[in-house]
Amino acid sequence: MGYVAVKGGTEAIRASTERLRYERLKHGVSLDVRQARAGLRGLVDQVMSEASLYDENVAAHAIKQAEGSPEEAVFLLRAYRSTLPRLHITVPIDGTSARVERRISAAFKDVPGGQILGAGYDYVHRLLDDTLMHEEETDVRAWLERWRDASRAQALPNDAGRLDGLPKVADYLHAQGLMEPRENDDTPPDDVTKRALRIPASRSERLQVLTRGQTGTVTSLGYASLRGYGPMLHPTVGELRVAALPLTIPNPLASHENEAVGGSDPTLYADPDDGYYLGEIRITEVETVVPVHEPGGEERQALRFDLGYGACFGQNETKAIAMSLLDQCLEHPDSRHPTHDEEFILMHVDSVEATGFISHLKLPHYVTFQSELDAVRRTHQPDAVSGEEDA
């Protein structure tokens, strides 16, 4: 049965919309967008990642309007994004070009360049800090001054180490011959925002869908893969980095004299040194190391490592780790396990699609339901049923 439209209710809907604004403002306080951006970093990062749109100010604006609801804020950002033209595509950016703000490894305690804890929640007590209830701007300024003084006093010499161009832990495994070496694969990436996802998906589509997936869903499905809904052995985070990724676009004003080198893709054939630098964005990038058994004869099995890859906008560490687990799962399709079922994973992780479809269930379905009601009533009226049958 198809959908049947309803009409009416204009005044009530208008009043309801005003009521929504009242709920946001009823305490007589307006949340400053700058405060939302500064103080709700985790939520801003989550919303940008799920919306697939990087703009901290616009994300904070959406969070204010959505009263902190991530699904509404993501919806607003996706709608905003649809009003803007896409002007360019960056050159392919390698994560090693990023400037590290945090870099940890669960696999190797001594990684070249060192493990940088940066800012992370891993080792903090999960106890409410009572002082935050009455934190004033003067307190903030005083703390910042003390922190800056202490940091300067403790700072290492300026030549103590560089935080850009750090090698990946995976490079070490490659060098040791414990992982298959990989050459760059320049298959043009697909774009699920230009062409709807089709199953089977390409690798680029899989990664794009996962990186814009709803944080909770991606995390839950990654967790399920570890709990036995998949044959994966215990994975290890080879490297997790939070880093500032520099963005460069190819020169759109350049002639196409190098076109023959890279076919029709200017992000490949253009000289990156002739490109335009746009700025940096913060991303989280994860490589998960998974042992893989290979047939190596009747007596023994050779062992090597595979990598699962996860990356997303902002500092969203759990999501990026879970994405790397699902990447590894989907590289080994297996219809017996839901976490290895591409259609099951990719068709259910998008925030707007999932929340939109679930939410639509509360909207008027009067005609649809009335027909169901009639059918159920008929089953409760034996005489009528027999009468119908007689008729």
Partner: protein
């Protein structure tokens, strides 16, 4: 002379006063024809992942873009975020370099000095961040 990428990196990172001082130098001696006023748009980020070394689309970043002409020569200004003045200043500087106006001969030294200041600031930032570099030790199993 720094490459365009290096030049635009320094100009974006150096801040508004530096950009404005170079752009105003060009404005004083050359009429600027604004071809495209600052416009908001999107740039898709293309990332090379490290597991299979393939490329994929990470998501889009908002940008501001402007185009100007000096004489018949086009210049492009673009940067992440919402900053019309910066986009226009960047476009003027780009057009100035593309048209090779005389003023640009003195700019390379200023760019080099600005880059040194950026590097110093970055090194100080890194030196503080490196205090969180951790050295874990494994304990013996008894």
């Amino acid at each position: 002379m720094p490459s365009r990428r290096e030049r635009t990196r320094i100009l974006v990172q150096a801040g508004p006063e530096f950009r404005r001082s170079l752009a105003d130098e060009a404005r004083r001696t050359h009429p600027i024809d604004v071809v495209q006023p600052p416009t908001r748009g999107l740039v898709m980020v293309q990332l090379r992942e490290s597991a299979k070394r393939t490329r994929f689309h990470l998501g889009e970043v908002t940008v501001t873009e402007a185009k100007v002409r000096i004489g018949g020569t086009l210049g492009l200004g673009i940067l992440a975020g919402d900053d019309s003045e910066a986009a226009l200043d960047l476009a003027v500087i780009d057009a100035a370099y593309n048209a090779q106006i005389a003023e640009t001969s003195g700019w390379d030294a200023q760019l080099a000095a600005a880059d040194e200041a950026i590097a110093r600031s970055q090194a100080e930032h890194d030196a503080v961040l490196l205090t969180t570099r951790v050295s874990f030790e494994t304990m013996e199993v008894t």
